[in-house]
């Protein structure tokens, strides 16, 4: 099977879960015999394809991040001033490049990811008469409290144009339904985790000595944006410290809320127990998990939340918000309401305090992460490809 996959990022050029997903998914699909051309903007970094069946084709230069940034001037969120122009440029060039490659050797399926590549996907579906699969890793509803009409329109079109849609959780499926997609067109394929990468990493003694010392560590890892719940995390920290004072709260990640959070930790009087690490490169993330006694993902809206599986793979007990996709599958995680700060704090204290709890959670998650593999995600994706091909064949028999 030959796939034209339209992406936005690929390791080592990664700013979110989308890049990790594309890297792991393509690798697993190729192992199953798929032949994938992965189209993406010029990254300026050296990208080595992870397997022989995978070609990385860099299309157009862009310096834009696919996630929201706050402008310095005011509260209004934006994607940067010339985002639309850059995106349009990428879309056009992407279409041309895929057409050129298809002329050499045709594709069986076009697979686009998120709104950033959905429009060329739809155009190519028509021009090449090839079925289109669209994955939603998140929707505009998850990324911001102030959904941007422009992006919503693109997402609505994406939901309408695709032959089949992949949602990364049941929760995301509901969000995609809000965009107007009929539920019977959506398949849920959960993300996986490369367990070995995290289970195998060693404890970094330097990090223990400089950061953890004799303290228990509660970890937050994610973009510092409202949807990830770092504000709730700090409020919970204040409560936890009243019961367990010898605790360090580590916040790893960057984002527009950083100044606010630093300020908040001072106002709450807990700044000596909160450590901001800033952006942590991927290879360092494994080490951060290793010093954590509990990982907390208090997201107010989380389409999936791969980091929870990463923490589980690292042998760390996990607390996740009920409003996350991973909560649907992670049986060995404690689930909390992101708004119930007291309860969240209570669960954190319990994991720190009661060793039998923490050990039982880790023991169960060791078994559980083996079920959440990229292999399984690739199987699910492959099924969707096959279904899309046969469905499309029924719709336009003349063309096939």
């Amino acid at each position: 099977m030959r796939i034209a996959m339209l992406g936005w990022e690929f390791p080592p050029f990664v700013s979110g879960g989308l890049g990790v997903h594309c890297f792991e998914l393509t690798r697993a699909l190729c192992r199953k015999g798929a032949e994938i051309d992965f189209f993406m903007p010029v990254s300026g970094k050296k990208i080595t394809p992870s397997c022989p069946n995978l070609r990385i084709i860099e299309v157009a230069k862009t310096e834009l991040a696919p996630y929201l940034v706050f402008t310095k001037k005011g509260k209004q969120a934006s994607y940067g001033d010339n985002l639309i122009a850059a995106v349009n440029e990428y879309w056009t060039k992407c279409e041309d490049t895929v057409m050129r490659e298809a002329a050499i050797k045709p594709y069986d399926v076009i697979h686009s990811h998120d709104w950033l590549t959905s429009r060329p996907g739809a155009t190519l579906r028509k021009k090449l008469s090839t079925p289109l699969v669209q994955t939603f890793h998140s929707t505009e509803f998850d990324r911001t409290s102030w959904p941007w009409d422009y992006v919503l329109d693109v997402e609505r079109a994406a939901a309408a144009n695709a032959d089949l849609i992949i949602a990364v959780s049941r929760r995301t499926r509901e969000q995609v339904c809000r965009l107007g997609a009929p539920a019977d067109k959506i398949r849920v394929v959960y993300n996986g985790v490369d367990r070995e990468r995290f289970a195998g990493s060693q404890v970094d003694l330097r990090m223990v000595n400089s950061l953890k010392r004799d303290r228990k560590v509660v970890l937050f890892l994610g973009r510092l944006t409202e949807q990830k719940g770092p504000v709730q995390f700090l409020h919970a920290a204040e409560q936890v410290l009243s019961a367990e004072p010898n605790t360090l709260f580590v916040i790893a990640g960057k984002g527009e809320l950083l100044p606010l959070l630093i300020n908040m930790s001072i106002v709450l009087g807990i700044s000596s127990n909160v450590k901001f690490l800033g952006y942590v490169p991927e290879e360092e993330q494994c080490k951060i998990y290793k010093i954590a006694d509990v990982y907390v993902m208090p997201s107010t809206s989380e389409p999936f939340g791969i980091t929870a599986l990463e923490a589980m793979s690292s042998g760390v007990p996990v607390i996740v918000s009920k409003t996350s996709g991973v909560a649907e599958v992670a049986k060995s995680a404690i689930k909390v309401d992101f708004w119930d700060i007291k309860m969240m704090a209570q669960k954190i204290v319990a994991v720190l305090r009661f060793a039998p709890l923490s050990r039982t959670m880790v023991r169960l998650s060791n078994g559980e992460v083996n079920e959440h593999t990229w292999e399984k995600a690739a199987d699910g994706t492959m099924r969707v490809y096959n279904e899309a091909i046969s469905e499309y064949g029924k719709q336009v028999p003349a063309l096939r």
Partner: protein, 400 residues
Amino acid sequence: MDVCIYFQVHQPLRLAQYSIFESTTVSPDGGWAHKGKKYFDADLNAQIMDKIAKKCYLPTNALMLELLEKHPEFKISYSLTGVFIEQCKEFSPEVLESFKQLARTGRVEFLSETYYHSLSYLFSNKEEFISQVDLHAKAISEFATPSKVFRNTEAMFSNDIAYHVERLGYTGILAEGLEHILGWRSPNYLYTVKGCDRIKALLRNFKLSDDIGYRFSAKWWSEYPLTADKYANWLSQLQGDCVNIFMDYETFGEHHWSDTGIFEFLRHFPGEAAKHQNIRFATPSELVEKIPPRDDIDAPQVTSWADMERDTSAWLGNEMQTSAFSMLEAMENSVKDKQDPELMRTWRMLGNSDHFYYMCTKSLSDQDVHNYFSPYDSPFDAYINYMNVLTDFKDRIEKS
């Protein structure tokens, strides 16, 4: 063929959502509450009692009374835990009254067990177990003659349990009719127990019991729908001296709702049974009295009727459960030293086996059963709340 029908009747005293963060004011009444907080959720317990009284206890007792009046040969037996009787007195006096009415027919036997539906037999010191058996006998004698047949919590049974129970003066004991105890032998006879003198074991015929208790409303079951005449016919064809049909009383109206036809089944059963000349009804005491034992059984390990494993793993299968149980057990002497009835009662209530059942982390179908009965979202939440209460209670004992 003697048909012996026995129902377990129990409702646990569920804990309140206990917060570790509330202020520390001392409870004026010095009751179960510590620092002004309640350990047990009176509202929730009253609400559940009320719900199940309406769905099960009241209608089923009314029907049983009607059947006993209509069929002079019909006999049944129950065991009511002390925790259940207390909650009846507090929340549903009419339920207790209806059991008293049944007792007055003279054809209903009330078996003995531990007052607190506890795992107290598993304490290394058997004194507490003996006290709870004694307490239960006192509670039952308020309205009926306590039986000389014993049923340990969730039918827990072993050579050793039978030995201790015999020394307390009991002549019979209920047990699960497990293949690994019986080997090629049938549960439809009475047996003596290895290491004991005369006490007879009444073994549950789990196939015929579960046909009603579990499979009655299962549409996947090849025998669905189960009718009273079909069931009576099965009983009449059995080989042996007796058949022991044991189940939770909540089977009627709660596990199987009224619309499944369970009450109609019950209503017609004694009449259908009467059509077979070889079927007679008998209470456990009557069986013990008139049926000679056929052989000796040997149960070195504790068995029970819980879960697929039919052992103690439903309550003591993971580290959370065993460590919480050890902590409870270790408090025995310090609680008793206080000679405070209210503290004593609280400690014993914390020994309800149900608290440990909620902490079970088994997977597959058994977990669904645990979840069905649990007031918690997960076993972790159950453990955390229990430990918060128990830790607080321990603190209180140590400080008082």
